[in-house]
């Protein structure tokens, strides 16, 4: 039985794998993830792929909002920029997938820096509303710049080509999405062990103190925006290849709110939380939908009541989590682990 930690150095305290138990469980998890696509049908694989994309985007947002404390209501717009970049690069220039992926990230990061630049002069609520404005403006551009974005009809994207292998099924995409997701998560986890990640946390906790300690606020806030939008851009690129189409409808304000909901339900500032949150917020609406399908036989009147119920449940989830469990699913998971670790003793 593992009952406690005894660390003798900072390096040990900051290690990626805190103990051997963690390593063992990670191997089990990876094995399960590798076996998953062989056991389930295309629908679940499709959901898994979407969840993977959501995880990348949520981890990105959590770096900006959870770690650096800059609220962004425009994350979906950055996902959208990544998506449009890769769609345009593939359809008009015929660039291959492995080039589009980093380029989408870079182009989203570029716009992230532009949107983040005013963040020096404002913070908190004002920044939150500035990003809301960015979301509305990008949304407008996606819809109205017909010659580039294809307007409301969007752009159809062919299945990506990876070194001659056509990634045309959910099964094949799974083996692209999941490794990228794992890289993204590992990168984020490691970011918080570096100088930059620590600076983000210092800015969130008290920006003036951070500045006094020699952190260049402007520079690091821009880093935060750039990193977060890079993740968003990569997620957008993957999303385009999953859905084979990009339209403005995929990136409305509501989608930005959904990403925020993910990191709040999961746990602000925690990488694990972003993963939990992304899974939760992708799966719950699907579960509700399937739940509603059970009532399909009932007459239309009842159905018309059940559909808006999803909107209510979405809102309730956010409110209930914030009121009763502000640290999110990550905190619940920690308590659960502690319970089993300490069992049968409570403390």
């Amino acid at each position: 039985m593992r009952i406690g930690d005894f660390k003798q150095s900072y390096a040990a305290d900051e290690a990626v794998f805190r103990s051997n138990t963690v390593r063992v469980w990670l191997v089990v998890l990876f094995a399960a993830m590798a076996a998953f696509p062989f056991m389930v049908g295309p629908y679940l694989l499709y959901m898994a792929n979407l969840t993977g994309v959501a995880i990348i985007a949520a981890v990105g947002l959590n770096i900006l909002t959870g770690a650096a404390g800059q609220i962004s209501l425009g994350h979906a717009a950055f996902v959208g920029i990544g998506a449009y970049t890769s769609a345009i690069l593939t359809t008009s220039l015929g660039l291959p997938f492995f080039l589009c992926l980093p380029l989408s990230g870079i182009s989203a990061a570029f716009f992230g820096i532009i949107v983040g630049a005013p963040s020096m002069r404002m913070k908190g609520l004002y920044l939150c509303i500035a990003t809301l404005a960015a979301q509305m403006i990008f949304d407008f551009i996606f819809v109205h710049w017909n010659s580039v974005t294809g307007g409301i009809r969007g752009i159809n994207v062919p299945a990506p080509d990876l070194f001659g292998l056509k990634l045309d099924t959910e099964f094949k995409m799974y083996f692209v999405t999941v490794p990228i997701m794992i890289i993204a998560v590992t990168a984020a986890r490691n970011l918080f062990r570096t100088r930059v990640g620590r600076a983000f946390i210092a800015i969130r906790d008290r920006d003036i103190s951070a500045q006094l300690m020699g952190i260049n606020l402007f520079q690091y806030k821009l880093y935060a925006f750039a990193t977060s939008s890079f993740f968003a851009g990569v997620a957008g690129c993957l999303q385009v290849y999953l859905l084979k189409i990009v339209t403005p409808e995929h990136f409305p304000l509501h989608e930005s709110i959904r990403y925020l909901a993910m990191i709040i339900v999961g746990g602000l500032g925690s990488v694990l939380g972003s993963i939990f949150g992304a899974i939760f917020m992708t799966m719950v609406p699907e579960a509700l939908q399937s739940g509603l399908a059970l009532f399909q036989g009932l007459d239309d009147k009842v159905m018309s009541y059940l559909y808006p119920l999803q909107t209510v449940v979405f809102g309730l989830l956010i409110v209930v989590f914030l009121v009763f469990e502000p640290h999110g699913l990550a905190e619940m998971w920690r308590r659960l682990k502690d319970y089993f670790r300490l069992w049968p003793f409570e403390h």
Partner: protein
């Protein structure tokens, strides 16, 4: 030239209504420092209350108006007591998200209760358009502006002279000092939410009267952010001035630019103004600048 005048007049008229809704927002922000993303939904629910009172119950307009005020005040009170009270001292993002969640709940509930169908009020004002010189103003727009302005003035007077208004201002200025002078700070929060909900709801009734109501009506609430940022988040005068500026800008920009880009400028223009204002004067025209010390 005629077109420009026409656009200016309708811009001012719409701006008056924005000012009223923004007032609902500022009242809540001033007293509680909570940015209420559900303002638009309070507005939408207010319009539905009015619809219920007038069409479904069949009351005459004035009692319906009073009923809307009572119901919205109760809604504001309930929301404050049930949700926001638990959020005191939480980080900004949590509070922002809670109101976003609230807006989602209110929208879903409205769809369940009143269905997604488009609804409109029976005519409240004489149909004949108002003609000022060469300019024709739709009667709903004109009377909506009049009602909105009367309400804004009443709120301003209440805030300046009534006991509760003075207490609210004191709370907004310095909670500790207000508390030690015997003001019940907690109940001031509740009052602020109730008044805020009433202002938004009345704005909703006017907007609903102009263009009908749907559960998505709350989307107009998003335009309130440019309005309040422009004026300064905690300034009532700012809300009014901001309302007029945004109303004018969106109408003029919409009128002149829409043909070139295929519509939608009206919804975008306020946000472009917002970005510019944030860059030049981050605390708005009348906002109080935060000075932070360690």
């Amino acid at each position: 030239m005629d077109i420009l005048l026409q656009l200016i007049v309708s811009g001012i008229a719409v701006g008056g209504v924005y000012a009223l809704i923004a007032l609902g927002f500022v009242l809540i922000y001033k007293a509680t420092s909570i940015i209420n993303f559900a303002t638009g939904e309070f507005m939408m629910i207010g319009a539905y209350f009015f619809y219920t009172a007038m069409v479904m119950i069949g009351l005459p307009p004035i009692p319906s108006f009073l009923l809307v005020m009572v119901c919205s005040a109760l809604l504001g009170l309930f929301v404050e007591r049930a949700i926001l009270r638990h959020m005191l001292g939480q980080p900004t993002i949590s509070i922002v998200m809670v109101t976003i969640g609230l807006s989602s709940i209110l929208m879903g509930l409205a769809e369940i209760i009143w269905s997604t169908d488009f609804k409109s009020f029976p005519p409240l004002f004489p149909r004949a358009p108002i003609i000022i010189g060469d300019i024709i103003v739709r009667s709903n727009l004109f009377w909506g502006f009049v009602v909105a302005m009367i309400t804004v003035i009443l709120f301003a007077l209440l805030f300046k002279y009534a006991k509760v208004g003075v207490a609210m201002r004191a709370t907004a200025g310095d909670q500790m000092a207000a508390f030690s002078m015997g003001i019940n700070v907690r109940s001031m929060f509740t009052v602020a939410w109730s008044l805020g909900a009433i202002a938004a709801a009345l704005g909703g009734v006017i907007i609903g009267n102009m263009g009908g109501i749907q559960p998505t009506l709350g989307g107009i609430g998003l335009k309130i952010f440019p309005v309040v940022i422009l004026g300064g988040l905690d300034s009532i005068a700012g809300a009014v001035v901001g309302g007029f500026i945004v109303g004018l800008v969106e109408n003029i920009a919409g009128g002149y630019l829409d043909p070139y880009v295929g519509g939608g400028v009206k919804d975008l223009a306020p946000f472009v103004v917002l970005v510019l204002i944030l860059l030049i004067k981050p605390y708005g025209l009348f906002g109080k600048e935060d000075i932070e010390r360690l």
